[in-house]
């Protein structure tokens, strides 16, 4: 973070509150912005992200949709094509799979198919990735699926500040953007600029969350706090880890990755999705393609295990990435 932030009166708020502020500010700023999704209005959001917004902006701007993901995702795309700025909430991105055709076939293709005539400024947002004991159907980390479709931008905030700044930027973007939030981080706290600051964080800019010199831990979303905790423990063992939070999956900040890896020469990628065709596999390829000679060890990787998510708590924990697995991977590449 840059020095000028210290002069501002930073506030400590939750990730949930940060998202709520982002929605509130953008609804207030632009009359074309509306929020639609299941339970977003009268119920105040399944995870209370939209708390108070229906009361404040009314049923025209904050709209409860029936359980019809294909229907309301498509509605958002159609409305965006003719000039509105829809924010479509998926109660979880596991449910976005029901609307997959709309999200991957309609939203990102329209600009090309129309020869540049129709852009689609829609934002799809909601929790993504495993939470806690939700079982196989409700625990999908979808970033690797959507990342395979040109025309979609994808961001994965890990802190309240990033959540607010990225969501506001996403809503203003002229293209379809997926804001993949983390249910497990909704209650987490962090420093965010005062309300009068119009906090916009560009898509496609990674951030060094912790500086280090011995190894780069590349992470995003849920794996950021794990990587930071791991780095702290590794410090005690004499390993100084740099933690690089991607913040956006697409566009990918390759420069930030290459800069960090060229400094540390060792890499562990901690991703919340599955290993096969996961985000980590693409990053591995890009690193070895561009700076193969900078690497002092094979790239380490922590992902989910390659199984449908079990319900049982102990088994679920065994499937997920965690601090211990990251520490073990770092020790291996630094060994």
């Amino acid at each position: 973070m840059n020095g000028s932030l210290n002069q501002l009166q930073m506030r400590t708020i939750t990730y949930r509150q940060a998202l709520n502020e982002a929605l509130d500010e953008e609804l207030a700023r632009d009359p074309n912005v509306f929020l639609m999704g299941e339970e977003v209005a009268e119920y105040n959001g399944a995870y209370k992200i939209s708390q108070g917004l229906w009361q404040k902006y009314g049923a025209k701007r904050v709209i409860d949709a029936p359980i019809s993901e294909t229907g309301f995702a498509g509605l958002g795309i159609g409305a965006a094509m003719v000039g509105l700025r829809p924010v479509i909430e998926f109660m979880t991105f596991s449910f976005s799979l029901v609307a997959f055709d709309q999200v991957v076939n309609n939203a990102p293709n329209m600009l090309t198919m129309s020869g540049g005539q129709f852009n689609v400024p829609v934002t799809f947002r909601g929790p993504n990735g495993p939470a806690h004991m939700l079982g196989a159907t409700h625990s999908h980390a979808t970033e690797c699926l959507f990342a395979n479709f040109p025309g979609l931008k994808i961001c994965t905030p890990a802190t309240p500040r990033d959540a607010k700044g990225l969501l506001k930027t996403a809503i203003r973007d002229k293209n379809p953007v997926l804001v993949l939030e983390c249910e497990l981080l909704y209650a987490s706290k962090g420093e965010v600029e005062p309300l009068e600051t119009d906090l916009l964080i560009p898509l496609g800019e990674a951030e060094v969350k912790r500086e280090g010199s011995d190894v780069t831990i590349i992470c995003y979303a849920q794996t950021v706090p794990m990587a930071l905790a791991a780095a702290k423990k590794l410090q005690d063992e004499g390993i100084n880890a740099e933690v690089l939070d991607l913040r956006s999956i697409k566009p990918l900040d390759l420069n930030a990755i290459l800069t960090s890896v060229s400094k540390t020469h060792r890499v562990v990628i901690a991703e919340q999705d599955r290993p096969f065709c996961g985000i980590g596999s693409e990053i591995c390829y890009q690193i070895q393609r561009d700076i193969f000679d900078e690497l002092d060890a094979p790239i380490g990787r922590v992902s989910q295990e390659e199984v449908p998510m079990p319900y049982n708590e102990r088994l679920e924990a065994a499937v997920l990435p965690n601090e211990q697995k990251i520490i073990a991977a770092v020790k291996e590449v630094c060994g």
Binding site: F34, K60, A65, P66, S68, T70, G71, F72, A73, G74, L75, G76, I77, G78, A79, A80, M81, V82, G83, L84, P86, D101, Q102, N105, N106, P108, M110, L111, T112, M113, S114, G115, G116, Q117, F118, N119, P150, G151, K153, K174, N175
Partner: protein, 320 residues
């Protein structure tokens, strides 16, 4: 000539332009000037021409992949339409969309969409946007009989009904989803009943009679401009050609095809206008010559047009 007569001559002329355009497109496809799929609308022209004549230019129009007629009826030039088939930079989608993805923003033609049923929620979004902005625009959403068994279709109808949006869902029932006759795909004897479950007013119309289509749609448009609500219309029609270009259409008899050709929308209107002494044979021939000339010119235009530049390959993934 009064205004009504001029309008009816325009209906005839518009149908002829579509017919002659597609005949030339078919020929160009055989000559391998056109790639991919090419779904012809021949036989169904009255549906879109009548519907467009009943609406305003600022009303939105969206359709499925059999979309050449819809763009032409909306005012997209035959040149831009043929160039699109040829994949040229001068096409209505700059050669990036192809036969199934015609777009023309200026004419509020919001696409040709190629996933069956996938565009129906988009139509609801456009109607939602109109309502959100307090406009009385209507959205015309066309699709085939094959779309009515898709989930996206049902979800969209429910939303339109729930929020009383100004969408006219127009099912162009040409009786075949590709090679599957309606009675092998749909558990309904009459397709317009499909919308009963959404408490929507429905109507079955003769899609071979352009006057009737225009008249019936005109009534619906008048009603829903006053009182926002969706409508579901089943237009009974028939396509003369196969599903796409490689389909010999063995799933139907020659007699059946001939029976429908006997109700040909262009021939019907021509005969009526001649009988009513609103059109002479010479005038008709002139009109037809013009349509053929436009089609021929569109081929020449497409042939001579440049390819989209390779350097622009990455220019349309995102807008700045």
């Amino acid at each position: 000539m009064d205004n009504q007569e001029t309008l009816e001559l325009k209906l005839l002329s518009d149908m002829l332009v579509i017919r002659r355009f597609e005949e030339r497109a078919s020929q160009q496809y055989q000559m391998q000037k056109i790639g991919g799929f090419c779904h012809l609308y021949i036989g169904q022209e009255a549906v879109v021409v009548g519907a467009v004549a009943a609406t305003r230019h600022d009303d939105y129009l969206i359709t499925a992949y059999r979309d050449h007629g819809h763009a032409l009826a909306r005012g997209t030039s035959p040149n831009a339409c043929m160039a699109e088939l040829f994949g040229k930079a001068t096409g209505c989608s700059k050669g990036l969309g192809g036969s199934m993805h015609y777009f023309d923003k200026e004419n509020n033609m919001v696409g040709g969409h190629a996933i069956v049923g996938g565009h129906v929620p988009l139509a609801v979004g456009m109607a939602f946007a109109a309502q959100y902005r307090g406009e009385d625009r209507v959205t015309l959403c066309f699709f085939g009989d094959g779309a009515i068994n898709q989930g996206a279709f049902h979800e969209a109808l429910n939303l339109a009904s729930l929020w009383k949006l100004r969408v006219i869902f127009i099912c162009e029932n040409n009786q075949f989803a590709m090679g599957t006759r309606v009675n092998r795909s749909t558990g309904l004897r009459e397709l317009f009943h499909r919308a009963d479950g959404y408490d929507m007013t429905t109507m079955q119309i003769d899609g071979m009679d352009v006057r009737k289509v225009k008249e019936d749609l005109g009534k619906v448009v008048e009603i829903i401009r006053k009182e926002p609500q969706p409508y579901f219309i089943e237009a009974r029609t028939y396509r003369y050609r196969g599903h796409s270009m490689s389909d010999p259409a063995t799933y139907r008899t020659k007699d059946e095809l001939e029976e429908y050709k006997g109700q040909d929308p262009i021939e019907q209107l021509r005969a009526m206008l001649v009988a009513e002494k609103k059109l002479t044979t010479e005038q008709f021939e002139e009109m037809d010559e013009r349509a053929k000339r436009l089609a021929n010119e569109s081929v020449k235009f497409a042939d001579e047009s440049p390819e989209p530049p390779l350097e622009a390959l990455y220019d349309y993934t995102f807008v700045k």
